[in-house]
Symmetry: D2
Subunit: 356 residues, 4 copies
């Protein structure tokens, strides 16, 4: 099988660089085009992108010439699909232009809240991919747009999925302690984060609330019925490079003890392995439970499953709801699972379903 | 009025140093004795204590000779009261010996959970001081032990007090992001905290659960009736030197909007000012509300009210309970309000009530 | 004596805020005007300035209306002197306009390298103030411009001064480990500084090289003869909020042992106390020597002398030059001694010399 | 070729864990035994070692039973060689016992300063391995001890080697900014390193001074003639997890411009590749020069060459010595190149020379 040709839109920014890294040596997709703003046009990628991840940039990619994203539409036929790492403001307008012709897999939020657009996370809502046909019919597109969720939503919904399926969810309280890379580069000033933390992330909480119930909702006859429980959260920023930590309290419909939950996670992992285990970016375990009392920790655990596992710890019965309440912490790698690499896994899933 | 003579037990450790700092130029108490372990015996305090707060140690205190805490009981008549910063393990045994003779005000947890011992925070439960008489009768002591709460409990109960009084509390979910100084010195390894955080603090959550309902409980005919709501929390450690941040979700009995809460805080401050405004360590405002969306922040706000105010921000209606739910973040200076300086204010209150 | 009326140019930025803080309750000068860019015009200072130092802004200053620096020249007669915290790019042009009429004391680099402009640090080169007359004559100004040195140069020249005077200096090697606040706000990205350091600071090394020999030079008949030794340095940035640390190796002309150096520092302090001890911002000791092997440390020692002392430690004989080589580390508070408060002390000195 | 059986002494500590990691999938050596203190005896390695590097521990190694290092001598015949990560205090005594029988490659300092012991770094002093025979004769050992240098010395001597060879060295001034992992675990308290740095590392400077001239010395008729130049250094600790940064000033005998130095590095790399390129742990480039003005940086560059390259930047002519002075910064991965993986490369070299 020859590899599918992929172009990256918004290739020089933080999210774009993560697509470049995620696609390194990928067996199914190859980077065939790199597009960014006019400023980068005509420059070698290695010059246009201020590369700041710790694994060095491959030389062949560094030598590729960056194109202007505003003219990229002229090259649309050269590619099989597009990965979009565009800024949210641009994504709505630009991604639609490409979706007329080709599939667009996106980390941006522009289309997330449209009725005919799935926020696709294979382990959570693979059947939502059915919406793609609706989207194409309704909009007259040959391609489509499929975004992933916000990086904070990701760790929440993957860990909630087996709880929701098995025990039912009545309400969720969540406090996040998010990594600096989630704010892009340069993001926060160093003066705001040394000996400090910030109890606020613009627009984040609203995204989590909406995306959680949409992604956990049911696909039914052409639309998604949101999951029927409320979510309340407070999002904060701490002095960590990568890895969002979530402190989660769940009120369940049926009783759920810590042992019940661990068993549900094991079952969930088995099922994910069966359904998605052949996807190149799929981790061995969707959820890894740490039993040490002081884990997970971002620096030590974020790379588990090559940054694609959700790492859960501190599973305890809750004091408020008793056997109908469970609490735990979850760690999700925000620039891998919660961004480009997570979207890549969604693309891999769509590939197996014949969408490219 | 001549100053009361105070001795500090456990004077060389982190908590002891905070008593030394809090008592600097105090109008009512003077440091008349400093006691620590045998290792420090006979040394000048400036030599025995590895001083690590940023405000320099006073020269006259540095020159005082440190006594052995195991022999301190022989000097008991030289002092009017004792401030104890002993390790929790020692505090139960040692503080009792001194309390037979003199008042002991303590940051340690040894006596906190005894039925006849108040965990005293003037703004929260001044009437609990009535328990002192019960304690003296029951134990045959001329003195008494009065501890303060855990440093994490402090910010929670001060901010809950006006909610509990005015709207009633049905349940509380709390996630803390605590400062490094809360672990004492050396506390956490630097390798555990650079580019990292730790979602666990030994024994902390249990303390918060018990102390919250005890301190907010009602004194009634010689005993305390615990407040009747459950508390569920997850305590974490982040890379901040001083200042515990709490993310709090409260289910109330009566409706409570953000404006209602702000009004309740104003009223609470007025009442605290009236009752405790003359105590030297009392802050101008017990609770300071920050309206900027990204505050409070530890480095910028922990020193408000000389580290004695609880700084609240991000007051929002909650998605789960609607008008019966309120959420906010609270910042409390863990080595000032939550430790020695907080206990000092309790001692000041007891002074005005004639206990020394 | 009524206080001199001072206006601050560039009042809302980081350096401007430091002037506001340094002038708090000053016995000789009062803040009578605050000027910033057009964007801040007409706003209360508390709104226009994103205040980010940990000591809270005074309410009366917060209420002052900010003027437009471009129109400030019309108000020039209302003030006795100006403190300039303008960006370097603007300082050359703007400060000259004001200096036609009134004294301008500046933290900016615009005029530092002019032949007729002293870089004034009282303890180092008080006689350089003679240049002011030359400057006024040559330029036809009624006022004048007096800048201070770069914040990195400050700790170097204060610690070198007694060495230069007593032992002679043949060469200096210096590596700095500078604080984040030296880059202004927002300065470095948090992603560049967590688990990282940066071995480069734009233009800094050139400034240190030139300013060191100019400030230590001799005033002679209307001009300054630069000190005759070379300086070689490498400037780096580390994850510290405030306080520049310098690792210094000095080749001396005469033999200089560690004890010789300590004695020279004592003598220097005595002389500074005699000459400048009455200036309100003068520290008790110009140089504080720490004998503990692991000091000075920024967080523990930067506030010594209210941030105005240079704190020296690790004084050792050098392996390369033997008795003609001495090495040590020096810590200087970059936003106090090395910026506004340092300039304020220069202004105080000029006040005693009748310049305002 | 069957793999050589290696045992690790001191396997559970930080340095021991680094040997475990460095030996993962090694083509020439296999981990056949793991020994630690009595406390770990009989436990699975995964339980005995608090694993804290970010790449997860291999399951087969985790399952190996840890032996007691005090009894390990009874197993000496089961192994072909020993890697020692013992604490310095123990290393002198214990390593000698094993060296009677088998080769011991060590990160510890116990034997470094013995006349008949080479501090072996292949690129710097491969001929020093001749000393092994002398050592065996003199001591009557069948095995031998070969330690590597201190982790700070490593980056210095690799970058100095081509300068010394090509231009001659008259003196060196060096200031280090060292990573936290260099202090082992737990090492520094987090309270000492957040918003702080420490200008002192116990015993480090003396080691650098001695080891630099010994490793760069010439092997001549059974002994090493130390290199004939003085080294003066100041060692400091900064808030970085891994990667020691060195600010180096070199006075050369012959003129050396930045371009000369870059050319010398290229030549050196070629020569290293020819001589050592076949060693499994040898990096593609011994020295990588970064031309960006703000590099190298620890977080971005420490993994270059899988942590085995020395990364040099900021090459400039020096102001003190002119064309006879050169300055630069060098970054060396202290727990890879400067510890176990560096020693492993020495072992690989000795393997090619027939020593095992």
């Amino acid at each position: 099988m020859s590899k599918k040709k992929a172009a990256i839109l918004g290739a020089t920014g933080a999210a774009g660089q993560q697509f470049v890294e995620a696609l390194k040596d990928h067996p199914w997709f190859e980077i065939a085009g790199l597009y960014a703003s006019e400023r980068s046009e005509g420059k070698p990628y290695g010059v246009a992108a201020k590369w700041f991840t710790s694994s060095p940039l491959q030389e062949d990619i560094a030598a590729m010439t960056v194109g202007n994203v505003e003219k990229a539409i002229h090259d649309v036929d050269q590619y099989d699909l597009f990965f979009s790492a565009l800024p949210s403001g641009l994504s709505k307008e630009v991604e639609g232009l490409f979706a007329e012709h080709k599939p667009v897999i996106s980390t941006a939020s522009g289309y997330r809240y449209e009725d005919d657009v799935p926020i696709l996370v294979p382990e959570v809502n693979a059947p939502h991919s059915e919406l793609i046909k609706i989207q194409q019919e309704k909009r007259g597109w040959k391609g489509f747009v499929v975004p992933g969720p916000n990086c904070t939503t990701m760790g929440l919904i993957i860990s909630l999925k087996p709880i929701y399926e098995k025990f039912g969810v009545k309400s969720v309280f969540m406090t996040s302690m998010q990594a600096l890379s989630g704010a892009g580069y340069p993001g926060h000033s160093s003066l705001d984060i040394v000996d400090n933390m910030i109890p606020f992330i613009a627009k984040e909480e609203g995204k989590v609330v909406i995306e959680t119930v949409k992604t956990l909702g049911a696909y039914d006859q052409g639309s998604i019925q949101n999951a029927g429980f409320p979510v309340s959260c407070t999002c904060t920023r701490v002095a960590v490079i990568d890895g969002h930590m979530l402190s989660i309290f769940v009120q369940t419909e049926k009783p759920c003890t810590p042992d019940d939950l661990k068993a549900a996670f094991v079952e969930f992992n088995d099922s994910c392995r069966k359904e998605f285990g052949d996807l190149p970016s799929s981790p061995k375990d969707a959820i890894v439970v740490k039993n040490e009392e002081n884990r997970p920790q971002p620096r030590l655990d974020r790379e588990i499953g090559d940054g694609m596992s959700t790492v859960v710890g501190r599973i305890r019965q809750d004091e408020v709801y008793g056997q109908h309440g469970i609490k735990y912490v979850a760690l999700s790698h925000n620039t891998k699972r919660g961004a480009a690499k997570g979207e890549l896994m969604a693309a891999e899933y769509l590939m197996t379903q014949g969408y490219f």
